[in-house]
Symmetry: C2
Subunit: 237 residues, 2 copies
DNA sequence: ACAAAAGTGTTATGGGTACACCCATGC
DNA sequence: GCATGGGTGTACCCATAACACTTTTGT
């Protein structure tokens, strides 16, 4: 904000120096489906990149906040509300959109697994889920955006509790561990995992059981009231 | 990016749905001065918030990247180039600037201590350093932006090597430790600190000494070639 | 009784933290 | 020789990592 008179913008207080870029929000929507981490993509109907897959997005309305715009896109595409949404990064290379200058404020969203299989809201025909490790060619710099979102998600999985956002309200410890393994792309030790999760006090046992092929598993729910705090004093990798 | 026809923007391919917001970059410039962590602020000359202090910033030119715009502001204000600069967050509440819709892509910069006392480039009269724990009333949402930058800086200090960007090319271990203590706002143990830093292999002894009041101290330089990697598998705070 | 998945404890190792004294120089 | 800051080692504790068997249910 705040134009200030400086060598390059010495104009009256109320006008930015030049024409404005367009501002869009794009949302990387993650969900665990079929045992893999997937993202929702939409097929573009117009040039440029007509027919190419892209992450859902659109221009920011002049009177809505960035997060509101992201939630609107999310709702239009999936019908979901009240899911985890976090601002990721703002991409602004002048040539990232061949038509005109577009600055994209990106977000990533986490949908709980299993609930409803969102087939995408309005125009379902053009929306599909793709595993993050098997993406089609993408429009614009969207591949880079997804890679970045994935890096951030993996990172946050380790030192925050965002991981629970990928699970439904009730889940078993094995399901939770699978979710972690799917996102991190790596096997975890069952006993160590359980000890760590349980001693963090972030789960509450619901008292119910889920019957399956073998012995029924205890169901847990996430306690969003517990404040996890990072205590680690690391001072270096 | 990528307008897509959707319930709210079903217009031809090449026009965003409404008028564009203005896009600005604002830069939180940190430097350790006089034993405290300080930020560079400029005094606004025009309404709104005329006479109030604000972080340096300005509108993004239509053909420059966001980072270029941030570096341009940094250069105009301090004369420095080639310093650490990182995108922080994008603030876009519709009412954050009373005049019009302005979306601010914020960055933070770290200047090496001691070098030259940048008194601010062009219009020096209106620029001053303020300790982060003693800020004047600020324009717009700039207080929030600085708080956020500070949180991020403290956080990154612990698990990356950004801290070295706050020091000149050659420094003693005590100076490095002071820098950490100043930013973190907390005392650190000398022996543990030195062991940790040295065993990370990120410093090279220059072989020179700095004479002072007591015993001369060994000088070190940062080895930007060493790739620090986070190995920690934490799975939770 | 057997297949399938749930659930459970111990040990070894490494990193973090706490802590006090000698060393080299200038005055 | 004394004041000033530089430089060094050890012991305890806790978190992590590795590792295999028993339990409960359905068929």
């Amino acid at each position: 904000m705040s134009e200030r008179p400086s060598s390059s913008s010495s104009n009256p207080p109320n006008t930015p120096s030049q024409e404005h870029p367009a501002v869009a929000v794009d949302v990387v929507i993650f969900m665990i489906r079929e045992g893999r981490l997937q993202v929702l993509l939409v097929k573009r109907r117009y040039p440029p990149f007509e027919g190419r897959w892209a992450i859902p997005g659109g221009f920011v309305h002049i009177d809505e906040s960035l997060e509101d715009a992201a939630r609107r896109e999310l709702r239009e595409e999936t019908g979901v509300e009240d899911v985890y949404l976090e601002q990721l990064y703002t991409f602004g290379r002048p040539d990232r959109d061949p038509r005109m200058r577009v600055i994209s404020v990106t977000y990533f969203a986490l949908l709980p697994a299993g609930e409803i299989d969102v087939r995408a809201g309005d125009d379902a025909a053009d929306a599909r889920w793709f595993p993050v490790d098997d993406l089609p060619p993408l429009a614009f710099d969207h591949r880079e955006i997804i890679e970045y979102a994935l890096t951030r998600l993996r990172y946050k999985l380790e030192y925050t509790d965002v991981g629970f956002q990928l699970l439904p309200a009730e889940f078993t410890l094995t399901e939770l561990q699978r979710a972690y393994e799917i996102v991190l792309g790596e096997q975890l030790d069952k006993r160590n995992f359980r000890r760590k999760i349980l001693q963090s006090r972030i789960l509450r046992e619901t008292g119910r059981l889920r019957a399956g092929e073998g012995r029924p598993a205890r169901l847990y729910e996430y306690r969003s009231d517990v404040r996890l705090q990072v205590k680690a004093r690391r001072l270096f990798p």
